[in-house]
């Protein structure tokens, strides 16, 4: 396991509110990691910083074996380095078919002219059908993605991430609003993906995190509070105070 992403000493203040406070996290490749924490702990801001949506005030974000800095790169450039992101709300292109959504995400040249003159290849088709079967949407390829159920949209979005073939997947609350059965399937998809790449899951739901069965990082007020197995962090007294205690109340 080598370090893929290294976030160190990162801070970000919004109008006086410290969203991220001296945060340091390391992600290896391959790895499955869950990040938990109460509302406002800085989980989403962490993702925004890694994907280039938000620029941190201080700190470093280093990527890959050559320790490239991701700061100052555009969202598109970071995405092309191999970081894929799934949003909390399922954001697929509802006006387009499942196939078109996956096709757009496929790892191909991204320039306007390359896209304009792009012709679908057998390789593309094979990749799309493989991903569709992984996410269980093989029968839905020609449907408008707006017609899919909530859970199917979440899977489609994960499928779009897989199509990008990223080295790091950032997944924001994948299980929100899902039935128990759908959650189980989502867990399988994520665990399968994490066999070959790094997957970071931000989640509220402890039960879901338990099923992922991976290393857990607890965030609180923009800082890492504890790190380790789920049993280890849930036994930590500070974690119980700020997070679990509050959740029970």
């Amino acid at each position: 396991m080598t370090s893929l992403l290294e976030v160190s000493g990162v801070s970000k203040t919004f109008d006086g509110f410290r969203a991220i406070n001296d945060l340091s996290i390391q992600i290896s490749e391959p790895e499955l990691r869950a990040i938990i924490g109460p509302n406002g702990a800085g989980k989403t801001t962490f993702m925004d910083i890694v994907t280039g949506k938000t620029k941190p005030d201080t700190g470093r974000v280093l990527w890959g074996a050559r320790n490239e800095s991701l700061l100052g790169l555009s969202e598109a450039a970071i995405a092309n380095k191999g970081i894929g992101r799934k949003f909390q709300k399922p954001t697929v292109f509802e006006d387009q078919t499942v196939w078109a959504n996956l096709n757009m995400a496929l790892r191909n040249k991204r320039g306007p002219f390359a896209v304009l003159f792009h012709r679908k290849t057998g390789e593309d088709e094979a990749r799309i059908s493989q991903i569709a079967s992984e996410i269980g949407l093989t029968d839905q390829l020609s449907r408008m993605s707006g017609e899919l159920s909530h859970g199917q949209k979440q899977w489609l979005e994960i499928g779009m991430l897989l199509a990008q073939d990223p080295r790091l997947l950032l997944v924001d609350e994948p299980a929100a609003g899902m039935t128990a059965e759908e959650r189980e399937k989502t867990t399988d998809i994520l665990r399968h993906a994490a066999l070959t790449r790094a997957v970071v899951v931000v989640e509220h739901d402890m039960e879901f995190v338990r099923r992922l069965n991976c290393k857990v990082t607890v965030l609180h007020e923009g800082h890492v509070l504890a790190e380790g197995t789920l049993d280890h962090v849930t036994a930590d007294s500070t974690v119980i105070d700020v997070y679990l205690g509050r959740a029970d109340a």
């Binding site: 994907t51 949506k53 555009s74 969202e75 598109a76 995405a79 092309n80 894929g84 992101r85 949003f87 954001t91 292109f93 509802e94 006006d95 387009q96 078109a100 096709n103 757009m104 995400a105 991204r110 320039g111 306007p112 002219f113 896209v115 304009l116 792009h118 012709r119 679908k120 020609s142 779009m160 990008q164």
Partner: protein
């Protein structure tokens, strides 16, 4: 590539068929072909309408497909008209000057000829000097190059500045309005080099075809406009059909998501903005020789807003919708404003449509937006059931 695309795209084939039938009917019924069913002025109106349809599909691609509500695309249309108008005016004046000077015993020097042409063209604004922007006006190929180059470059620079700073939504619309307003105010000045508020006139007279009747010239331009519309339609349908269409519709629906997929949204917007500006320029270059005159009022901000209204009424996000909207609204508009509609006597008040037409158009626009967001083109959704 295009072949396979045409086979799979039914609406394009339908459109081309309708356009071909319409063109054939007008061509065989025109005065030039002897039938005389359609007057020369009607042929000109229909030819101009086809040009408006062409700029409308460009607007539909940039707004309906890519989500950029540009309220400045008529500026590119006008620039195309000015570019071709400069050559038309120069070449025709040159012909007149040369024939009037030919009677002299001493042949005129090139500078005398140039001065004479200059004072003919710029006399109305109290000048005889050729401004720098007329440098290419003597050459038709160069000036035709300007038809695509000037709108293209303007769109490229403007778009690059706007999209790079991530100006979107209503702010971008205001910026494009400012662009077209600035351009039209500039052209209104006498020292703009394009004859101020006089604009360019006599554009219906084509140099080298002085002996050809207007009936024939109007038919030629009508056919050229129809061909341009057909080619433009196929081009845009191809652009919005494949993966490119997916990406630009994605930008319209969720720009941030497209960025996180790794696409540089700015580049795609710039591509669409510039391509549509170039097509708008070509449409303008075909329109103004049929109109005969172009002046800065043509590119006033309101013109670009009309363009958006046509597309909205016709139905955004479908190319034939833009064509229907532009053709329907502009023809109805000229019927109403031209006094074709009988006044409506309400007893206590007489509605004169020349004054009230704008109100009617505004109300229809609001009604379409509220009740028929898919526009007139949306009707086809009920007629055509897609095989699932």
């Amino acid at each position: 590539m295009t072949q396979g695309f045409l086979v799979t795209n039914r609406s394009v084939r339908w459109f081309l068929m309708c356009l071909a039938i319409f063109t054939a009917v007008v061509a065989f019924g025109s005065e030039a072909s002897g039938a005389g069913l359609f007057s020369t002025s009607l042929v000109k109106t229909l030819g101009k309408t086809l040009c408006l349809c062409l700029v409308a599909i460009a607007m539909d691609v940039v707004w309906g497909y890519c989500g950029i509500l540009s309220l400045g695309h008529f500026a590119f249309f006008g620039i195309g008209g000015y570019a071709v108008g400069m050559w038309l005016m120069y070449a025709r004046t040159e012909g007149i000057v040369l024939s009037s000077l030919s009677g002299q015993t001493i042949p005129p020097t090139p500078s005398e000829v140039s001065d004479a042409i200059g004072s003919q063209i710029f006399g109305v604004v109290g000048s005889a000097q050729f401004p720098l922007i007329w440098s290419f006006a003597h050459s038709l190929p160069l000036q035709l190059l300007m038809v695509v180059l000037v709108p293209g470059l303007l769109a490229l620079v403007f778009g690059w500045l706007a999209f790079r700073s991530r100006v979107t939504g209503v702010y971008l619309s205001i910026l494009t309005q400012a662009m077209t307003l600035a351009l039209s105010l500039y052209l209104f000045q006498n020292d703009s080099g394009l004859r101020g508020n006089n604009g360019l006139s006599g554009l219906q007279n084509i140099p080298g075809y002085e002996q050809t009747s207007q009936a024939t010239i109007s038919l030629m331009f009508f056919l050229a406009s129809a061909l341009a519309l057909a080619l433009g339609y196929v081009l845009f349908a191809w652009v919005v059909a494949g993966k490119m269409g997916s990406v630009i519709k994605g930008i319209r629906d969720n720009e941030a998501r497209v960025r996180f997929l790794g696409y540089r949204v700015e580049g795609f917007k710039l591509f669409v903005f510039t391509l549509t500006a170039v097509v708008a320029g070509i449409a303008g270059a075909l329109y103004y020789p049929q109109a005969g005159i172009i002046n800065p009022a043509e590119i006033a901000p309101i013109a670009s807003i009309y363009l958006a209204v046509w597309v909205a009424i016709g139905g955004r996000g479908r190319l034939y919708g833009a064509v229907i909207g532009a053709a329907f609204v502009s023809l109805v508009s000229s019927w109403f404003t031209g006094g074709g509609a009988p006044n409506l006597n309400l007893g206590f008040y007489t509605v004169q449509w020349t004054d009230w037409w704008l109100v009617l158009l505004g109300v229809s626009f609001v009604a379409v937006t509220l009740f028929f967001p898919k526009g007139i083109g949306g009707v086809f959704d009920y007629l055509v059931r897609k095989p699932s």
